[in-house]
């Protein structure tokens, strides 16, 4: 090599040093802007348990920086670099308030609830389905998310509610559900035909004073907290914390909740369902005066869910 080549190779060597030194000392990426290091609790104190998989916050920290920090932010407060451009806004983990739970309103969700939320994603939001991540990675992320709120230190998750067996889908059940829809004033937000156009719809805000829209049943789109009838039932009984959707656990009997589920399915006009078949067979008209409902059977066995924990296989 001549002198010029030697010089240039030397410069390349110097460049390699310049790259390697800051790179090896690099914290995992945050927002891309210089930021203070978040002061979170010792991550080794936090774990999650999904079936046979144990998640560790220590590992989840790296994963969080890779996949979540852009929206949820380095502090978990929902103020990531993309938050200004996102509607609805990313979840604020510091409040430990979660929409989709199997536990009563106001209580912390179970690890399985969070696992299912990460897996399922949230329709009509920027939160994708993280199904391609391994169960271990998702469990690690759940453990790390817990580090953002002191509630996880001082409280235990709530006890999952009991979901009674589903009552038969009949036109009478649909009619009773419609009457309940009117009585509970669901229409004020969701609209008389479930089109998200009720008189209160435009005024709704979430717990962070951000505008929020009620679910539009007429689109037939995926529901936020799961697709099965049991998931809709659970939504009534637990409420979607942090949103105007309350819990009706104290106002609605189990058999009434199933009637309401059956009616709501008929509002999903573009989506094939047993309820829509029943309605079609009845001539497409819901009776105005429904007969009284039969009492529900007591049963503490929750039906099988669509979401499965890793221990239950693929």
């Amino acid at each position: 090599m001549n002198a010029i080549t030697k010089t240039l190779v030397s410069m390349s060597f110097s460049l390699a040093i310049a790259i390697a030194v800051p790179a090896l000392a690099q914290e995992p990426p945050g927002s891309g802007m210089p930021q203070p290091i978040p002061q979170t609790p010792a991550t080794h104190d936090f774990t999650s348990h999904i079936g046979k998989v144990t998640g560790h916050a220590d590992h989840g920290k790296q994963d969080y920086r890779r996949w979540c920090v852009g929206c949820h932010g380095p502090y978990g407060d929902g103020n990531g670099e993309n938050a200004p451009w996102i509607d609805p806004k990313p979840r604020d983990f510091t409040a430990a308030t979660f929409k989709c739970r199997s536990t009563p309103t106001g209580t912390l969700p179970t690890d399985d609830d969070l696992f299912n939320a990460i897996t399922r994603g949230f329709n009509t939001s920027n939160m994708p389905q993280w199904r391609p991540l391994t169960p271990q990675t998702r469990a690690d992320l759940i453990a790390y998310v817990k580090t953002f709120s002191p509630r996880w230190k001082s409280e235990k998750p709530g006890t999952p509610i009991t979901i009674t067996p589903e009552t038969p889908v009949t036109i009478d059940s649909i009619a009773r559900g419609k009457a309940l829809f009117v009585k509970l004033e669901c229409w004020k937000c969701h609209g008389p035909l479930g089109r998200s156009d009720g008189p209160s719809a435009a005024t709704l805000t979430d717990s962070k004073d951000q505008p929020i829209k009620p679910y539009n049943f007429s689109t037939g789109g995926r529901l936020k907290c799961g697709e099965a009838n049991a998931d809709i039932y659970r939504d009534f009984m637990t409420g979607l914390d942090g949103t105007p959707m309350p819990s009706f656990a104290d106002n609605v009997k189990p058999e009434e909740a199933w009637d309401l589920v059956h009616f709501l399915r008929t509002l999903q006009t573009t989506r094939p369902s047993k309820e829509n078949e029943v309605l079609k067979a009845a001539g497409g008209k819901i009776p105005d005066v429904p007969p009284p409902a039969a009492p529900a059977q007591e049963n503490n066995q929750a039906p099988q869910q669509e979401q499965k924990s890793p221990s239950s296989g693929k």
Partner: protein, 459 residues
């Protein structure tokens, strides 16, 4: 003697000090340059996810990114159709790499040295430019268009396809039409190496010794045709089957009017804390012409006749061990003797020279990465191709055998959802056995090496 040693030591110490000083200055510069950029990478901008969500280190996909790609560039959260986007959003990204590049060829015949001499060139340079525009035309209709220029600015269409996703509401049925990369899960297009020798996978472009057929097929080249593909919801199991024009991705059917087939299958499984492991197999079966109709003695493009076959088969794995991953690939290739012993025949069917045989070869590649953190990754790759049967009994047994070693480092000073920037350093060394020298008419072993340093950016 003692004075000389001290002098040497002082010069060495001075040199090291100057290197370190330069390194520190550059380090300060890099740290200072780690600022947010207003430039935007198309998908990251659309979905607000950092580059690291879909890429181990861009452009290398992780499983989430592969799933996104397999879903037709959709996250499947009902916000994929462009109707949901801010009207100002434009799904375009540009990628180019200003660089300093040194290339050495071990034996080049020159007027000054007819038997060959080592030739080194170096200087500041530009890579080609990729204009990547991709996304969805509607829910479940996706597209990719990549007008691509070489370093001189000469454009061609690297990719141009439309894909109908989730046919019959099933992730197992997706149909792509146009020009696209074959379903190579060890993707050369998404490689983390850029230099002249290290920037391509030798085995994806290998042709046997003596093959001078104008049809030069490469499994790493984008091809034109249709692809039917499917995958499980989590993308762990996936397949693809393609029907392709036998023209190596070139437009206007320059060779013939026959068709090739490409097939890939892979499945992945969880290995606990190690991560996701994938194994798979792929095959390409094709045909190429051996003579053409002529006009005035010249071949008429697209009139290839006398088709003979070739094939490439491989098994591969993508194995993750925490921050370390290894991607081995074992392959086999073979061609018809007619293709490998091509002799221009002026429009007549060729006659094989004495001693002609169907050539075959085995190849092996292993690429490994160590991801220190999402912003710093190192790559090492070893390529090896060994002939198992030459196209002619007259050829040396090892003619055309190739080995290559490549090592590269990429550092991403920032990582967010607006733009991508990587500092890239690379060294690659390639050896080929018995390269034919047109000057001397002899066979010579030749080695090549590349030194490359660049700034790879996409916005």
């Amino acid at each position: 003697m003692r004075i000389d040693v001290i002098g040497r030591f002082q010069r060495l110490r001075s040199a090291i000090a100057s290197y370190l000083a330069m390194g520190m200055l550059l380090g300060i510069f890099l740290a200072a340059s780690s600022q947010s950029s207003f430039a935007i990478a198309a998908f990251a901008r659309k979905y607000g996810l950092p580059c690291s969500a879909c890429h181990d280190a861009w452009p290398k996909l992780n499983n989430f990114g592969q799933t996104f790609k397999d879903n037709g560039y959709q996250l499947m959260n009902d916000r994929d159709a462009p109707i949901w986007q801010n009207p100002s959003y434009w799904p375009v990204a540009f990628r180019i790499t200003p660089n300093w590049d040194l290339e050495n060829t071990g034996r080049v015949a020159t007027d000054q040295a007819p038997n060959g001499q080592s030739v080194t060139t170096h200087g500041f340079n530009l890579s080609g430019l990729d204009i990547l525009t991709a996304g969805t035309l509607n829910k479940d209709i996706s597209f990719l268009l990549v007008p691509s220029a070489d370093e001189t600015g000469a454009f061609h269409f690297e990719s141009a396809w439309v894909r109908f996703d989730n046919l019959f509401h099933s992730s197992w049925a997706n149909l792509k039409v146009g020009k696209f990369e074959l379903d190579n899960l060890i993707s050369e297009k998404r490689g983390l190496t850029l230099s002249a020798n290290g920037g391509s996978y030798q085995l994806y472009h290998f042709l046997p010794f003596g093959d001078s057929n104008p049809y030069q097929f490469g499994i790493g080249d984008n091809q034109m045709g249709i692809e039917f593909a499917g995958h499980s919801k989590n993308d762990y199991t996936r397949f693809s089957a393609s029907l392709l024009s036998s023209n190596d991705g070139n437009v206007d059917v320059p060779y013939g009017s026959t068709y090739d087939g490409s097939f890939t299958f892979s499945t992945a499984f969880n290995a606990g804390s190690l991560g996701l492991q994938r194994i798979g197999a792929q095959a390409y079966i094709g045909q190429a012409p051996t003579y053409y109709l002529t006009s005035g003695g010249g071949d008429i493009p697209g009139t290839g006749k006398g088709n003979h076959g070739f094939s490439r088969e491989a098994v591969f794995a993508l194995l993750y061990f925490g921050k370390f991953d290894v991607t081995p690939l074992f392959g086999h290739g073979s061609e018809s003797a007619y293709l490998a012993n091509y002799v221009s025949t002026g429009g007549m069917p060729p006659v094989l020279p004495a001693g002609s045989r169907d050539p075959s070869w085995n190849n092996f590649m292993v690429e490994s990465h160590y991801l220190f953190n999402p912003q710093f990754i190192m790559t090492y790759r070893y390529d090896a191709i060994y002939m198992t049967q030459q196209a002619s009994t007259a050829y040396p047994d090892d003619a055309g055998n190739t080995t290559a070693n490549t090592i590269a480092a990429r550092y991403y000073p920032f990582m967010h959802s607006r733009a991508g920037f990587a500092l890239h350093g690379e060294f690659s060394h390639l050896n080929q056995k018995h390269v034919f020298s047109t000057t001397t008419g002899t066979l010579q072993d030749v080695s090549y090496y590349s030194v490359f340093g660049g700034m790879d950016f996409i916005f």
